[in-house]
């Protein structure tokens, strides 16, 4: 039997995921449907140990999605505002390799 405590924790996790899904690049509906399916797939799991294991996976997904958002934002901003930097860096690297080769 699942304890009420565990049940509320699962619901909490589901809500957290749905909240995160609002910003999902492919849209909220896409995320919600997949999230719902993932939970529905395991709806018959009764073993508390098993539930905890599945929840830790859910928490892992939460962390991954947060990291995804951060990286997406960082990369977009970097591309928009620091355009020349990569070219400059590449040029510098190129120059230094040429120099080191000519030294030899």
């Amino acid at each position: 039997m699942t304890t009420p405590e565990l049940r509320s924790k699962v619901i909490q996790l589901y809500k957290t995921l749905l909240f995160l899904g609002r910003d999902y690049p492919k849209g909220y509906v896409y995320f919600r449907d997949r999230c719902h399916n993932a939970f529905a797939k395991n709806k018959d799991v009764k073993d508390p140990e098993q539930i905890r294991k599945l929840m830790s996976h859910g928490e892992f997904v939460v962390k991954e999605v947060e990291a995804l958002y951060y990286l997406k934002k960082y990369r977009t901003l970097k591309k928009r505002y620091y355009k020349d930097e990569d070219e400059e860096g590449a040029m510098r690297r190129l120059e230094s390799t040429i120099e080191s080769k000519s030294e030899k």
């Binding site: 809500k15 690049p25 947060e66 997406k72 934002k73 960082y74 901003l77 928009r80 400059e88």
Partner: protein, 254 residues
């Protein structure tokens, strides 16, 4: 010595939204468009929260100037760990023409009022890309400035700030009080989680008007026209080098 920090946050059109220019060329479409906190301001908020976690800062106050919806942005800041928020309500034509000079005056006034030792803002907003607010705020307060910060460390009575400059980094020492603007690499902002946003609703949010602060926000400029950048013309393929040279010659490039 525990410091008090004032953080400026701006509500802007979300970075992921495709911005569209209004047909009458007076600005960009903002109705029904997703808005969020300016990403550089998120970095500023995160830095203030980290300084608080290091016990360098004792209290963080967030400020936002704009319409009522700016309070949502302030809630996000509160959820990230800010202690209290001040919403300076600016609406209508005044909001449309709100310039960094107005915001800087408001921030300077509030910094004095809140007895702040440290003002942290994002280096620029992703909507107008002005990159002026921090500098002007420092000028109005007559405080030292450390803009484009990529690292902030406490040292003695002041701060050691590493700045991003063209082609490298610059390390400077500033005395407190000071104004700092955050660059992209300063830190990785945390995500405002659902429970924290709920808790943030209980944190104090003060409402003010520019009038209360004695700041004149009447427009100083008039927007003549807002237009899309020119679209890139399609390229053409060439068969061989001779053809390429011929084409370049025709275009007068060589």
């Amino acid at each position: 010595m525990a410091l008090r920090a004032l953080v400026g946050v701006k509500r802007v059109v979300d970075y992921a939204v495709r911005v569209r220019v209004k047909p009458d060329k007076t600005g960009v479409v903002t109705d029904g468009v997703k808005h969020s906190m300016n990403p550089f301001d998120e970095i500023a908020v995160e830095e203030a929260v980290r300084l608080k976690e290091k016990k360098i800062v004792s209290e963080i106050v967030a400020v936002s100037c704009g319409p009522t919806q700016s309070q949502e942005t302030l809630r996000t800041a509160l959820a990230m760990g800010v202690d209290k928020a001040v919403h300076v309500e600016v609406t209508g034509p005044e909001y449309n023409n709100l310039q960094p000079i107005h915001v800087a005056k408001i921030l300077a006034k509030l910094a004095t009022e809140q007895k702040a030792d440290l003002v942290i803002v994002g280096k620029q907003a992703i909507d107008d890309d002005c990159n002026q607010t921090a500098q002007m705020t420092a000028a109005f307060l007559d405080w030292p400035q450390a803009v484009f910060a990529s690292k902030i460390e406490k040292e003695g009575d002041g701060l050691t700030v590493t700045r991003e400059i063209d082609g490298g980094l610059e390390t400077i020492k500033v005395k407190l009080p000071a104004v700092i603007s955050a660059d992209l690499r300063l830190n990785e902002p945390r995500y405002a989680t659902l429970p924290n946003i709920m808790k943030a609703k209980k944190k104090p949010l003060e409402k003010k008007t520019p009038k209360d602060l004695g700041v004149d926000v009447s427009p100083r400029i008039e927007v003549v026209s807002v237009e899309d950048p020119p679209t890139r013309e399609a390229g053409a393929k060439v068969e061989d080098v001779d053809q390429l040279i011929e084409k370049l010659k025709k275009l007068g490039r060589i």
